[in-house]
């Protein structure tokens, strides 16, 4: 049965993920059309978190594949257990049997890596293919077969078909242009920085101990910081880090202790360039504007 958009929203809210209706609609489409979703957006806007929240909300296991340059099938899909294969050959030899090939190329000697795990799992899983744009084009081309036919070809013994079709979420943040073929197979969603209200709701959901007034100030400050032309704009993860820091330092109001605030900004500003742009004066100005 298909869940409605608001049901999906409620489910995600139940696991502390604040999803707007547009994203929930996209997730609904994903389950109706059985297509993977490609999430794009700046670092730290909560792309990976979507998959994690979905896994928690549905109770399905999360299988994660972190992509990197040089990722090959051996570490993403499957690998033969060479040591055991060699041992088996020796044992077969000792038994006097000549045909080793069929015996050693069986599932017993297959080491399953994330993608194989995801499609052979009896229970449906949430498959997160994180930062797909970091992987090479060859790997992307391989994914095409998996994402459209839900099967993996193993030359030595044939095709492995998916037992249950996984829910697939791909994330990318523009390290490289993805191929059109891959984009065409996916639903697309661009995850932007959250609005003031949404970010406040996220903060309240994740840090219930945070004082309402301080939370409003924190979000206001971060939102203004994003407007400034920084090299690396702070994401939601950074906001949460900063709020946790302020909570632990028992700060009640941002204008109380400008010195401490300035020293906690390492949570938000992650490059030297940005730290130089946001000197004590500009910070004081920003805080002044919040009043």
């Amino acid at each position: 049965m298909t869940l409605t958009v608001s049901e999906i929203q409620d489910q995600l809210a139940g696991v502390d993920y604040v999803a707007d209706p547009a994203l929930s609609t996209c997730l609904q489409l994903m389950s109706v059309l059985r297509k993977p979703v490609l999430l794009e957006g700046d670092a730290g806007v909560g792309k990976t978190e979507v998959a994690k929240a979905l896994s928690r909300a549905t109770g399905h296991k999360l299988v994660r594949l972190q992509c990197y340059e040089g990722l090959d099938l051996g570490s993403a899909v499957y690998e033969w257990d060479y040591q055991r294969q060699l041992l088996a050959i020796r044992m077969l030899e000792a038994e006097g049997r000549k045909t080793a090939e069929e015996s050693i190329y069986s599932r017993r000697f297959l080491l399953e890596r994330p993608l194989m795990q995801a499609i052979t799992s009896a229970e449906p899983v949430v498959l997160l293919i994180d930062e797909i744009d970091r992987a090479d084009e060859e790997f992307e081309a391989f994914l095409l077969e998996l994402l459209s036919d839900w099967q993996i070809s193993v030359p030595e013994f044939g095709t492995v078909k998916a037992v249950s079709q996984p829910t697939v979420i791909l994330t990318a943040n523009g390290t490289r242009e993805l191929s059109d073929a891959l984009r065409r197979r996916c639903l697309y969603f661009y995850v932007d920085y959250p609005s003031f209200d949404k970010e406040l709701r996220i903060l309240r959901a994740k840090l219930p101990a945070l004082d309402q007034a301080l939370a409003t100030q924190v979000v206001g400050f971060v939102q203004r910081l994003r407007e400034a032309e920084l090299r690396k704009s702070p994401g939601i993860a950074e906001t949460l880090d900063w709020a946790t820091a302020l909570l632990n330092l028992q700060i009640k109001d941002l204008s109380d202790a400008p010195q401490i605030i300035a020293s906690t900004l390492v949570c938000l500003l992650k490059t030297q360039e940005d730290q130089m742009v946001m000197d004590a004066e500009s910070i004081a100005e920003l805080i002044e504007k919040l009043r």
Binding site: T2, T4, V5, D20, P21, A22, T25, C26, Q28, L29, V32, L33, V37, E40, D42, E69, G74, E79, W80, Y82, Q85, L86, I89, R90, E93, K98, A100, E101, G174, T175, R176, E177, D180, R183, R184, L187, Y188, F189, Y190, D192, P194, S195, K198, E229, R231, K232, E273
Partner: protein
């Protein structure tokens, strides 16, 4: 007499037809919508929430958009199509972030449509005037400063985008013969051992794949380069999209790092960055000082023995002539190659090289023209060696 059922049926058919028309128009407007998408869209009608006016819009957006650029212009297209008279989607979409902002509020849908029509007319007219295949060829040879026509500029920009992709494809296609390799390939060795009863007689080795060069682009954005800046920027955007390790800087009197902005392909942020840069525009060009800044801040981090540094500039420097040579010597000592791309080089009679640049020639591996698409395409031979 019309029964309620047949009325409902005919309404449904009309709705389906209308939506299929939308999908078809979306396809011609450059969105990703094939036959499969048409079928999907029709099946979506059943699950769209009738009480949420935006549900269908959200569904179509996720289904028909492929990248950020399409994502951003989808609203304008949707409004222009479904609400040609009434462009109030932005008001209805209160709570949907950035929606109003991205379209510029009221009337934007109509504006988009009329712009689209004008663009199509311009394209068609210029096609007729030029006629077929030779048009593209002449455009590829044209000096960037003579390309005034907006449609041609747009076409050129598209070609520049593809150029970087083509260069990359050719660079990885070339392989060098290797007799030895470092790592043993267990997978193939085991496979080859099979006919020999598991005895690994013939070893197989793994070989490192050829690594692409790291490209560092330094773009002169001073006033004397004004007509070329836009095109070089577009080329730089293409390069940073396909060469993973590339990095881009712009300079006139000081240096600005553009790498991250270009990689995100955020044209808005790029413009903001360039505007802040152009504040000192009247102060002339300080190439040597900008390169010095580059050397102090970025050289050690970004330039290594696999790096090719490309300077796009006409070389007119307001500083003394020896300084440029000094700075370029530092770069050339670390980099695999330093290429200087001079947009005026191909002009009849050749330009009079600035004394600073003349002094610096020993530290430059190649001084190349960069006035046209074809000239840029020839860069590839210098990148592969």
């Amino acid at each position: 007499m019309v029964t309620t059922d047949s009325f409902a049926d005919s309404t449904a058919v009309r709705l389906e037809e209308r939506i299929l028309c939308f999908v078809r128009d979306a396809r011609s407007a450059g969105f990703h919508s094939g036959l499969a998408e048409s079928l999907d869209v029709v099946s979506l009608l059943a699950i769209a929430d009738p009480f949420e006016p935006l549900a269908f819009y959200w569904q179509l957006r996720s289904l028909l958009c492929c990248d950020r650029e399409q994502w951003q212009r989808f609203e304008a297209f949707y409004v222009a199509w479904f609400y040609p008279q009434d462009t109030e989607l932005s008001e209805r979409t209160e709570g949907e972030e950035g929606l109003a902002a991205s379209t510029g509020g009221k009337g934007s849908g109509m504006r988009y449509l009329s712009e689209l029509q004008t663009a199509q007319q311009v394209m068609a007219a210029s096609e007729q005037a030029k006629g077929g295949g030779s048009a593209q060829e002449s455009l590829s040879m044209a000096d960037f400063r003579f390309v005034f026509d907006r449609a041609e500029q747009r076409e050129l920009a598209l070609w520049l985008d593809r150029l970087a992709r083509r260069i990359r494809r050719r660079l990885i296609r070339r392989h060098r013969q290797a007799n030895r390799a470092k790592a043993l390939d267990y997978r193939r060795t085991t496979r080859r051992a099979l006919p020999l009863g598991g005895e690994a007689m013939r070893l197989c080795f793994k070989q490192r794949r050829k690594r692409l060069p790291r490209l560092v682009l330094l773009l002169d954005v001073s006033q004397s380069m004004d007509v070329y800046t836009k095109f070089f920027m577009r080329f730089a955007m293409g390069v940073s999209g396909v060469f993973q390790e590339s990095d881009v800087y712009a300079f006139h009197t000081r240096l600005i790092h553009l790498g991250d902005v270009l990689q995100e392909r955020q044209v808005g942020r790029l413009e903001a960055r360039l505007t802040s840069l152009s504040k000192g525009w009247l102060g002339g060009t300080r190439i040597a000082a900008s390169l010095q800044e580059f050397n102090q801040q970025y050289l050690r981090r970004t330039v290594h023995n696999r790096t090719i540094v490309m300077v796009f500039s006409d070389g007119y420097d307001t500083a003394a002539s020896g300084e440029l040579a000094q700075q370029l010597a530092l770069i050339s000592a670390r980099a695999r190659k330093v290429l200087w791309l001079h947009p005026l080089l191909a002009r009849p009679g050749g330009p009079k090289l600035d004394p600073g640049l003349r002094h610096a020639l020993p530290h430059i591996d190649a001084l190349l023209p960069a006035h046209s698409l074809q000239a840029l395409a020839e860069l590839e031979t210098h990148l592969s060696r």
